[in-house]
Symmetry: D4
Subunit: 221 residues, 8 copies
């Protein structure tokens, strides 16, 4: 099958870089160390851009790094990176509502950075103490785009959406309990935000938000 | 059955006033004009306080008023009132996120007023234009309690909850479409608000919020 | 309240243009003709940019236009526009899966055009006949961004997301019946797309997608 | 950022006490011992009122107490308290339907007490044996407010709501199995209670109920 | 096909009476007048017991009665009956929470009566005024079984279940709005009742409850 | 775009017949008479096989037939057919649980017949009177495949699935009320059938079942 | 509080036996061994009938039995019983669809037996092999009532409901995966059964079914 | 009970082979090793065709094989097989969207093979890299039927459904997180596929798909 390589345990998309400017990114869960290593090796061989593996636990990460040299592991983000991209001149502000949203923010920021985006982290500015997010307004407006990460009722997305005019990518998180419904409440709330033009990605998907931010830097051909 | 009167079509709770300081309130939908009139007449006869009928459409309201004199109809609130209470010295601010929340606010304010509360209406201060609600901060803080009415993602409840220290009663509304799920999204969002100590009533229940505010004025015995 | 004007039936956000580069946009449902006219007049007076009212039915639209001259009505989009913006050099491709997605596409395209975006409409290229969307690949790649509009299982978003590298904004529609659950199925499917970096707006929200595309053209300050 | 202190792992809201009469309360889950200790220390330094950390497990609690002296741990409530408030003259009755609702009641009562409320615990009076709650009527009516805690079908909230005229804050719990849906059934039931003016907080949120009761003691400014 | 008769538009179960002591009962919705008449005629011819058609609107009922003589129509119950059974010595108490539950109670009572049960109607004794249901305790205990009909939070089922020791059949109704979810909340609440041994039938199914009560009178063979 | 024809209001898939042995089928809802006529005309011109339009109401159907001669309308099935296929030697039994499932069965049978399948209709054999479906066993086993159509609890699918060894396609219908949840209950029940190897299509999709049966007659190439 | 005894950890309902013919039954989960022992001791002292504790794990059961002599433990049913009732002349058939429904059947049968019912167990007669349940018809009809226990699609309840004329109590179980939704599918299916007069209890509630069967033996007073 | 054998822990359906061409298949979860062994032994004794036990973990599998000789265990599929069938001349293509769908594909392929189908595995051809599935078109079209296995948004089913004309059996998997809702999103998406005539089985049910494919090979009698 041209354009892909069948490793037995996975069929690697070799055309992704030429088609979308970025090699395929490896999703770690459910894959063995040798499978991650094999896919990464193939991607490094057949592409020139950054190669990433997401949601890899520390133990597995160490084993993969031992097998495929040249990589780096970000534990907070659970991210493996080889050949991180040079900065491409787009700044994304990553803003969170609370401490518990930290891991998702770490993934979003680390993936974005590995793809060449410059990231600014604005942490723990939930709307219950509105002065915190208002104090961050200048920083938010200085960015080319904003990733808003919040669980529970996700109201931060609406507030930020009303403060900036640039693209806002909202990430609902599974933070909270009871009626938070594992992130579904924040997801629904962000989709129905009264701040026009906000877009939303899947629950806890720091990865998805980073990729959406990366797309902002790509143009037509 | 002592303590109640069986009218055939309804069993009127005659003890409610002595038990809870307020006669039973008539819920209009599904009742005929003569049934509303009959229950209201019984309540007026056997109690001394205000008598209300909620969610009554204009045509039916006119017929009931013709049959039971001394009442007044508030069309925006769809509320019939006899013997409205004197002001009892508690101010409740009724604040809405958008124009579409108006009918629920009208019901909340009219019921509250009929029970003796003083109401302040702060309209259309959704969080997409945050300066509007911030400009209303002093008014919000001047009230004894606040009823926040919002649909869509309901973020206004969290913002107001963070601005005042008095009781906040949140009313989700069925405003919005798609992922707003007929008010369920606002309901879930308000229940998981990051602003601590907010309480919530049923979707579109301006009535429930007004009664909750009324309870704030009642003490132990 | 500075920065807004209280018309009694609505509090108009006068700062939105300076804050976000665009005057507030009027949401038609639930508003009377005179209310829409009043808000529009205020917005025209106090801003310099385009003024829009969405989801206005034909009869009401004619009455508003008679009252506020200089506007134009797009019936397919149910959109009223005054002072449409000049083209600002960003092309957005609006692509639909089926004929029934047409009204949402019309809203997306008309709003985008009124805000100065150039739109390309690629209609009826659902994945059951894959050659149709493949034949449109060049057109899709030539755009600065893509709005994908689909109901039922919403698979078109994943396919388009894999073909282009620019921003993809997915709009689930309420097209379909039974397990389509009024658009919820397409919404969930788009949020879990295997094509990385796709973002999603509310069900049937052509308006939200257009605003998200407009944000793509705005930069930091 | 004025009004808050950024500890790296958290941005502490320093204005909450002046704004709402109470320092920020620390939510334990997902925070390390040193993080809880750091936030608590900051809050103690920069405020004068009670400082609380909720949902802290025994082991972590001991470590935090060792690091930040002067605190006290209530294991049943999983609550850490420093500088508990003096009684402020408001009695709240905490009433439960069954034994399994005990932990939520413990949290509600301990948080309320730490904030200066006087609490009365009325335990295990579910409506299947109605004489139990009826026997408690005088105690319920003697309180300034009532927190009703129940899982399964949550009927106790409606019964209590009909017995007292003071504020009733209902807490659904995740007690039960099958159709109890982890507390969602009790939540929905309490929101649709036939006893007017009941308000509801999130599932299992003894904390939220206590804060709502605390708000009852705060006035306008 | 032995044991049934194919009328073209329906296959009538002729064995039901010998198998279950009762002829098949006709469900009206979706059937034409001539179809109802045809099925009823067949059932009358081939059985000896009562023949019923449920949920028939007044106009259609009149036409069916004109076509199949000997029947009687109960408009409140929307029920057509031919050859109503003689009393068989089982009393069922039909108890409702509110006025809006009346139509479901009417169906339950009329179907039960047509099958030979003696019915007692106890109306409008919702738990918000507990003295009403307590006053009815003797009547409830005097019955052989109880059908409890309630919407909203359905708490009456738990209270009644705790007062009597005989079979309790709970019918949730679609009364209420918002979080009542068209009767789903009452359904879930009744299924998780803290009163042991309550059983539940479908939302608004007065018919189902009556048939369940009828089964109580049938013995082994 | 090769392989399709853009009519402005629709892009007709001209390759479907060569790719899948059958021209595209027109879904009526949301299309104007002239649009249906235009698409049908194009399909008739550019294909040789049967051309169908589904879910067309009688008035629109008459207008389309007047505009595109040679067609035939089946009102019970709401189906328009041109160039119905010759029988291809596959018999499908269409079996329903109740009278209310009739319209879905009519669509399934009429579409299947138009595509060349021979259909046997076995009506109204719900499992409450099990002898009816048992009496039909021989007919069910004589067919090459079976379409089972049932609403409410959909149990007929499991029973039929246990009686025959040929392909069983289950169609849940929106028949029923309350907990039937507009067909979702039957859908879920059929998907979890204890009879192995049953497959399921969308709620009320007689069309989908007929197409699935048609696929049974197609082989590899 | 008269009629109950407050043990500190629980308030025991001492009137249940006189009110409902049966002492309160202890629900094991969430209670300590000493709490179960204390409640059981109180119930044995203050009543004369059978005392049961349900869902007690083997280890805890042994400890309770050591502390409160005279009891017996049924491990399959996870049930502790003291003073089991003499047979009272009512036979209940407990019928299951599959092997996995066994534990729920064990609880139903053991609780029923402890309360004096005679039980017949008919196991593993799911409708995929219909001859199994048909072969059991005589046994089913010989019982005074039937408890049907099934997971997945729960179709057995409808089939049994059509075979017997006595009371049928359906218990949905959490058997199955995916679309079985932890028993919700079986629950919904049983509630919408086409067999009239079936009643339903909570998911996996063998206990609830047994109590419902016990109520069948109780008469008016 | 004729036609079945009661082993105490299970009632084995002995007529299934004569009725449906295949002995009953044993579902492993919840059964003890000796129970699986006992059922398998009975099935081997009383039938002549293949005997399978699904979802058996490695340890249990080894114990069963030791007890019932002649079997074979496929660990990836968690399947035990005795007397696998000879090839019967029907090829089914098993196609997956991603690596994580592998275990479900393994079960589908192993069960199908044990029943005599010839299987082709086409792995990891998700639609984000469309060229992969397009490159497999010839292989897909060469099969007699196709099983499509996908999680997340399940779009592969629609794409494959549009490429082949033979039967397509779609299996949603629980792959993904957040809005994937444990496979419910893929399930709903496949049920509403725009590719006509696709059928769907339960989430993660490779077994169900294989049995559905097997039914394709059976004819009328």
């Amino acid at each position: 099958m041209s354009g892909s390589k069948d490793l037995g345990y996975a069929r690697v998309d070799l055309e992704r870089e030429s088609r979308q400017g970025l090699p395929e990114i490896v999703y770690g869960p459910g894959k063995q160390v040798n499978e991650i290593a094999g896919i990464v090796t193939t991607l490094l061989d057949r592409n020139t851009g950054p190669v990433l593996a997401t949601r890899v636990e520390p133990g597995a990460a160490a084993d993969v790094l031992a097998s495929v040299p040249g990589g780096r592991y970000d534990q907070a983000a659970r991210l493996l990176v080889w050949r991180a991209a040079e900065p491409i001149g787009h700044t994304v502000a990553v803003v969170t509502a609370g401490t518990a949203d930290g891991p998702v923010a770490a993934e979003a920021a680390a993936v974005a950075a590995a793809l060449g985006l410059t990231t600014t982290l604005i942490r723990d500015v939930g709307v219950a103490g509105l002065h915190r997010v208002l104090a961050a307004t200048a920083d938010l407006r200085a960015a080319d785009s904003v990733i808003v990460i919040a669980g529970m009722e996700g109201a931060l997305a609406s507030v930020v959406g009303g403060l900036v005019e640039t693209p806002v990518i909202a990430v609902p998180t599974s933070t909270g309990y009871g009626a938070a419904l594992e992130g579904v409440t924040a997801l629904l709330a962000m989709l129905t935000s009264c701040a026009a033009g906000i877009t939303v990605v899947n629950i806890d998907s720091g990865f998805g938000a980073a990729l959406a931010a990366y797309r902002l830097t790509r143009g037509p051909r």
